[in-house]
Every structure is written in structure tokens, then in C-alpha cells.
């Protein structure tokens, strides 16, 4: 069950309606609608899914089924600086696991969680296609290559006051 309860504002509802309408409320465009909504809200809380259900005439259960199927969709808000560690094969072979452990330790959160202050969230990715830089870490849009566990603290430091 989703632990977060949010209240949508009228403008949020209008935005969702607008997104659904831009895809003609076509059931087959559900994934595109979810992409757009996640782009707008940063995540897909239950309430957003309910409005989508209402607009498109798709049962909420089905929307939830789709949201929980695809790893790109999330029902928890990401941190201000989302940290993603590539766990692609090249990165794994070059020690990404240890880097991930270090981030977990430094941030005190598990994969899929967000720090209490909302600053950082942690996720693991499947290959960002930067195998030459393995292991690779992304913080927001910025890519860090050849990251060693020792670098983790310094990387996070860059964002401490941002």
C-alpha cells in the first residue's frame, strides 16, 4: 500500500487531464501518459493514478499493475539529487557493487529509498552505455566515471549545500 498520501490541487488535476487528453484518452497510450505525468510530478503517487484512471476509463488496478511492472515508474518521490549506480555487467565486473555499498553506507538508505531530508535518492541502473568509464555513477544528469568506493564521500560533498 502506498504510504504517501497527497492531496492534489485543482491545477494538478487539470494538468493530468490535459496530458490524458493530449493522447486522446486512448487506453493504448497509457505508458506515454504515465511518462508525461512522471515527468511533471517527479513520481506517480496513487492519487495521480486515480485521476488518470478517471480520465481514461482504465481501472486503477490496471494502472497500478502497469506502474509496478516497469522499473522506470516510481511511486515514491526521488531525491533532489538522484544517485544512480550502474550495475551493468562492465560496471559490475569493475567493482560497482562496492561503490553501491559505500553509497548505502554514506547515505544511510537502501536502493529505492530517499534520504529523510529529501536530498538524495539511491537507485541502481542496468547499463547506461558508458562501459568504458566503468564503474559509472550518475548524480542527476552528471556522470562520474571510474568511481572507487573512496570517491563516494567526495562526490556527495559536491551536493551537500546544493
Amino acid at each position: 500500500m502506498s504510504s504517501i498520501k497527497i492531496e492534489l490541487r485543482q491545477e494538478d488535476i487539470s494538468k493530468i487531464r490535459e496530458i490524458c487528453a493530449s493522447f486522446n484518452n486512448d487506453e493504448q497510450e497509457l505508458i506515454n501518459v504515465l511518462h508525461k505525468c512522471q515527468e511533471h510530478f517527479g513520481y506517480l503517487p496513487a492519487e495521480v493514478q486515480e485521476v488518470i484512471s478517471d480520465c481514461m476509463g482504465v481501472p486503477t488496478a490496471k494502472i497500478y499493475g502497469v506502474v509496478t511492472f516497469y522499473s522506470f515508474f516510481t511511486m515514491t518521490p526521488k531525491g533532489k539529487h538522484p544517485v544512480s549506480i550502474c550495475m551493468g555487467t562492465a560496471c559490475y565486473v569493475r567493482g560497482a557493487e562496492k561503490v553501491l555499498e559505500e553509497f548505502k553506507k554514506e547515505l544511510g538508505i537502501q536502493v529505492g529509498q530517499t534520504t529523510k531530508d529529501g536530498k538524495f535518492s539511491l537507485s541502481s541502473l542496468r547499463c547506461v552505455g558508458a562501459c568504458g568509464l566503468a564503474p559509472v555513477v550518475l548524480v542527476g544528469e552528471k556522470t562520474y566515471g571510474r568511481v572507487a568506493p573512496d570517491d563516494v564521500r567526495n562526490i556527495l560533498k559536491e551536493y551537500k549545500d546544493k
Binding site: 497510450e29 541502473l125 547499463c127 552505455g129
Partner: protein, 597 residues
């Protein structure tokens, strides 16, 4: 078209960091303006050159000089020395890891000598955001030829005769697929490009889409003409924003030039392309799952038949090919079936792109004729293993492929040989492993991937893979028995034999191939409770070699759990009951006094 005669090409692959690429591009443009050459020399952002270890890379075209490790500060020197005075900037030239020598141009590159670029023909050469540039390099010639000179059946025959097989994994003959889709009558049909590249460690589709999007658009239109469809869909990972952006630009430009849309080049043929986004599900690489995903559903595969060619997207005949397959189409049309089928092995024609990664010197995309051996790829093109480590295995075919060994190195790579060797072509991931890689851990890593990516529809994949993973974990912790190895094998065989789709039917390959090729390593884990590669944390010990220890105390200071004791200038000792095997001491010791056992 373009009057500019020299091009400065800046790699914008992910490895070269987009931001830095932008800065270099800007700096080069500024310098060119300063010497009033902005109209003679063009600065182009291109796709990966396959020299990821040496990025950021700038290439001077057409002569092929490669500058590596370029920074924006180097722009002035490149423009003033190379462009104005025709002198190469020696210090930025690429050093071939195989020979240790500076390379004057790409023709001298050992790693390129064995390669043949059909799929990647324009990657790194044309400006992917400029349709004119693409046309100047031959884009849409094949489409024009097909539309004006050929009947659909003729074009299909060429593709059939060329021997082209699907590059997405299965290796189904492409021409036959088109023919079936053509024969299924319907008011509407769909051409789908599968760009949901999900293999960890493979990024060839992204490179093609980022570097040569028109190649894919053109081939889709040809396919549409052949099967009788005017609707194209590209199903692409949402995680590829640059590829998406370039595709959108390419589609818009192609429409403006009458190469997509209504009445293409005045022939009366209509074809247009839409983009659909994936949302992170590896199983959507399977075509029925992909179609469900495009229909707004959970990406669960369904039993075939019916095949998509009979009933696919919206219940209509649908032809699904992946990016690399489409990228082969235009050259085949232009150069003929005989040309293509002269390349490769008896049953696998043409070339194949591999994403070479792992413990290998030259990391990046390579394209070689089918039939090239693994040894040539790894040691000649890849430049061998770094730090002179010993080659142990190469994993091909992505997460569902198998681990091949020394004895397979001289096997010519093609669809059937890889399957016979217990692996597969897959989409072309190729990960090299050395002596410090534990094969039990590798199998576990891949199973971890499959467990996470299983859609959950069929029981053997949903539960069986989880059980395989658990058992591998059990073994890597030193709790396994010989009987467990038999169970591993039986479960793997049954999962392969009973799973619904290609994911489950191949997910146990890493287990089976490592059992076949590295049985001794498994036995070491279960009998002696040792991990020969020293990777399995629960099975190893860090020990201090008295003779080498100088008592510098560095290890004791770095140990997070204070497991190391000893007087200054005296040999130290690790308390095994306290040690958490983090390896910090091992990394710290400068005297090789700490060993792993």
C-alpha cells in the same frame, strides 16, 4: 548540400561525457571563427567511435586523424596547427595499446583493421542531426531504388537471398519474416523497430540511433513498402534521451524532405513513423511483450502462435525487427544480396556489432564480419587484457548468454556456433573476464538480473530463477554440496525447457555454461569451501605474510572494525573472527604483505 570540406567530429557518446563534448565543440567553433574558417570547417557531434578508454575523442575527417583525451583548451592548437598549418598535434594522437605507438590516422589502428563497418557505416561520420549530411552519405538512396525500381516481392527476395538474420537475439531470417507479414492480408499492418535495448553492457542500438538515425528510418520505410504497411513505430527505452531527441529530429527532417509521410518522393507510397517509449522492462525485448507494452499493458509475453506477423499490434500483422537488423537493410539493397552474403559464414551472413567491455584494453563498439574468432576480437581488436592478467572467460549474448573459455577462443563467431558452444549471439554484449573473476559469482550476477527482470507470468521463470539464484548464493557462502550442483543443473534444464518466452528459455545459460566450463571452480566452492578467484567474500581470508610486513600500521589504521593488531615495525596479525573482509587493508598495503586466500 554541404560545401564544407573538412569536418571536425566530436564524439558525443556517453563515455565521452556530453558536457565535455559540448565544451569542446563550442571551443572549436570559436577558434574557427577567429580564423574565419567557420564556413570551410564543420564541427559535428557524432556517435561513439569505439575508443571509449581514450575519450573525449575528436576526429578530423576525411583524413582520419584521431585526437584523444581532448579538452576545450586544446581547441586552439588543433585549429591553428592541424587545420591552418596541416601539422598533426602529436601529443594528442592516439596511442595504440597493442603497440604502444602513436597512431597517425585511423587506418593504422590495429583495432580497426579487423573491423568491417556496415551497420556503423555512418556513425561518427555523418552529422546525425542533419538529413542533408545523411543524404550526402547515401541515405535514402536504397528507399528511392526500392520505390521506383522494384516490386515489394523483389526487395523481399534480395533481403532473403542476402541471408540477413535478426540481430536482436533469435536470429530469425529477416526476409522470411517480411514475406510472412506480406502474405497476411489486412487493412492495416505495422512495422515496429525494437530499440528497447536492455542488455546490461550492450549499447549498439543506441549508438546507431544516436549516430545514424536515418539508416533506421529508411529501412523501416523499405520494410513498410515490402510488407504493405504505412505505419511505423519505434519502441525505444525512455532512458535514451539523446537517441530519442535525434530520432525526433530525424523524423521531422525526413518528413520535410518528403522521405516520410504521404506520397514519399512522389511515388504514392505513404509511410510515417511514431515513437513509443519503453519504461524499463528487459522482457519487452521479446516481441509479443513489446507489442503489449506498446498497447499500454504490462509487458508480458504471450504464447506464439499467433506470431506478430499474423496478429500483432492492435491485432494487426506486425513485423518487428531490431535496430541493428534494420541498419543492414539499405546497404543490402544498394550493393546486392551477393555482396552481403559473401561476408560471414555459411549460415550467418554479414557483420555483427559487439559491445566489447569488461577486462579488455579497448572498450567500445566494434563491428566485425561473422566468422571472426573470439581471439581476434578480444586480443587484436580489443588489445588483450589490461595489466597482463590471464584471460579466463568471455560472456556473450547478454544476461542470457553463456561464459565461453580458452577452448572456444578460435571458434568463428556466428549464430549457430555460439549456441553450440552453450552461449548465444544475443544482441551482442561481450564481456571479457580475467582470473580474478569468480564464475559462481558471475552466474549469480546474471541470475540476479534475470530474477529482477522476469515478468512473473510463468512459474519456471518466476520461481525457478529465484531458486537458482538462492542456490548459487548458498554455494558462494560455502554451504553448498555436490548434490546442490546436480540440482542446479536439473533446475536450469527444466527452466529452459518449460519457460514461456525467450527470457526464461535462456536465463539458465550462465549457470549451465559455467557448470560445463568451470566445474572445478564450483567443486572448489562446495568441497573445499574455497573461492579460487578470491571473490566470494564468505569463502576467503585476508592474511598477512609475516616476511613482507614491515609494521607500518597502515592496514591497522584503515581497518574499519579494528581487526588488525601488531606493534609498530613488527609483523601484524588479522583477527579472522572480527574481520569483515572489506578489503581495505589489502588495498592499503604497499608491501604486498596482505594476501587473499
Amino acid at each position: 548540400m554541404s560545401e564544407k570540406i573538412i569536418k571536425l567530429m566530436v564524439c558525443s557518446g556517453k563515455n565521452c561525457s556530453r558536457k565535455q563534448g559540448d565544451d569542446i565543440t563550442d571551443a572549436l567553433k570559436l577558434e574557427l571563427e577567429a580564423v574565419s574558417l567557420e564556413n570551410k570547417v564543420q564541427v559535428v557531434r557524432t556517435a561513439c567511435f569505439g575508443l571509449c578508454n581514450a575519450g573525449p575523442v575528436v576526429k578530423v575527417w576525411p583524413e582520419g586523424t584521431i585526437y584523444t583525451g581532448v579538452s576545450p583548451d586544446d581547441a586552439a592548437e588543433i585549429v591553428n596547427e592541424h587545420i591552418l598549418k596541416g601539422r598533426k598535434v602529436e601529443r594528442l594522437l592516439y596511442t595504440d595499446p597493442a603497440t604502444g605507438k602513436k597512431i597517425p590516422d585511423e587506418k593504422s589502428l590495429t583495432s580497426l583493421k579487423k573491423q568491417l563497418r556496415i551497420v556503423l557505416r555512418n556513425c561518427g561520420i555523418t552529422d546525425p542531426e542533419n538529413v542533408e549530411d545523411a543524404i550526402a552519405h547515401g541515405a535514402y538512396l536504397a528507399l528511392a531504388k526500392v520505390l521506383t525500381e522494384m516490386q515489394p516481392e523483389d526487395a523481399i527476395k534480395i533481403i532473403k537471398d542476402s541471408g540477413l538474420r535478426g540481430r536482436g537475439g533469435g536470429g530469425f531470417p529477416t526476409g522470411l519474416k517480411w514475406e510472412i507479414a506480406r502474405k497476411n492480408q489486412s487493412d492495416e499492418k505495422y512495422v515496429v523497430c525494437n530499440a528497447d535495448e536492455g542488455d546490461p553492457g550492450a549499447f549498439m542500438d543506441r549508438s546507431v540511433l544516436e549516430g545514424d538515425p536515418h539508416a533506421v528510418l529508411e529501412a523501416m520505410a523499405i520494410c513498410g513498402y515490402c510488407i504493405g504497411s504505412s505505419n511505423g513505430l519505434i519502441y525505444i527505452r525512455a532512458e535514451y534521451p539523446l537517441a530519442v531527441q535525434r530520432l525526433k529530429i530525424a523524423i521531422t527532417q525526413a518528413r520535410e524532405y518528403g522521405l516520410l509521410g504521404k506520397n514519399i518522393i512522389g511515388t504514392g507510397f505513404d509511410f510515417d513513423i511514431e515513437i513509443r517509449y519503453g519504461a524499463g522492462a528487459f522482457v519487452c525485448g521479446e516481441e509479443t511483450a513489446l507489442i503489449h507494452s506498446m498497447e499500454g499493458l504490462r509487458g508480458e509475453p504471450t504464447v506464439k502462435p499467433p506470431y506478430p506477423a499474423q496478429s500483432g499490434f492492435r491485432g494487426k500483422p506486425t513485423n518487428v525487427n531490431n535496430v541493428e537488423t534494420f541498419a543492414c537493410v539499405s546497404p543490402i539493397i544498394l550493393k546486392g544480396a551477393d555482396w552481403f552474403s559473401s561476408i560471414g559464414t555459411q549460415k550467418s551472413k554479414g557483420t555483427k556489432v559487439f559491445a566489447l567491455a569488461g577486462k579488455v584494453n579497448n572498450v567500445g563498439l566494434i563491428e566485425v564480419p561473422m566468422g571472426t574468432t573470439l581471439r581476434e576480437v578480444i586480443f587484436e581488436i580489443g588489445g588483450g587484457l589490461p595489466k597482463d592478467k590471464k584471460f579466463k572467460a568471455v560472456q556473450t549474448g547478454g544476461p542470457s548468454g553463456g561464459c565461453l573459455t580458452e577452448k572456444h577462443l578460435d571458434t568463428p563467431i556466428d549464430f549457430d556456433n555460439l549456441v553450440a558452444a552453450g552461449s548465444m549471439m544475443g544482441s551482442g554484449g561481450m564481456i571479457v573476464m580475467d582470473e580474478v573473476d569468480c564464475m559462481v559469482a558471475v552466474a549469480k550476477y546474471y541470475l540476479d538480473f534475470t530474477v529482477e527482470e522476469s515478468c512473473g507470468k510463468c512459474a519456471p521463470c518466476r520461481i525457478g530463477n529465484k531458486r537458482l539464484h538462492e542456490l548459487l548464493e548458498h554455494i558462494s557462502k560455502g554451504h553448498g554440496t555436490r548434490a546442490d550442483l546436480d540440482r542446479l543443473r536439473n533446475m536450469s534444464v527444466v527452466i529452459k525447457d518449460t519457460s514461456l518466452c525467450g527470457l526464461g528459455q535462456s536465463s539458465p545459460n550462465p549457470v549451465l555454461s559455467t557448470l560445463d566450463n568451470f566445474m572445478d571452480e564450483y567443486i572448489a566452492h562446495v568441497d573445499a569451501k574455497k573461492c579460487p578467484a578470491g571473490k566470494c567474500r564468505d569463502l576467503m581470508q585476508y592474511l598477512i605474510v609475516k616476511e613482507n610486513c614491515v609494521g607500518c600500521t597502515a592496514c591497522a589504521r584503515v581497518c574499519p572494525v579494528n581487526a588488525i593488531s601488531g606493534e609498530r615495525k613488527e609483523p601484524h596479525l588479522i583477527n579472522q573472527s572480527v574481520c569483515i573482509k572489506c578489503g581495505a587493508c589489502y588495498e592499503k598495503c604497499k608491501f604486498d604483505a596482505i594476501i587473499i586466500q
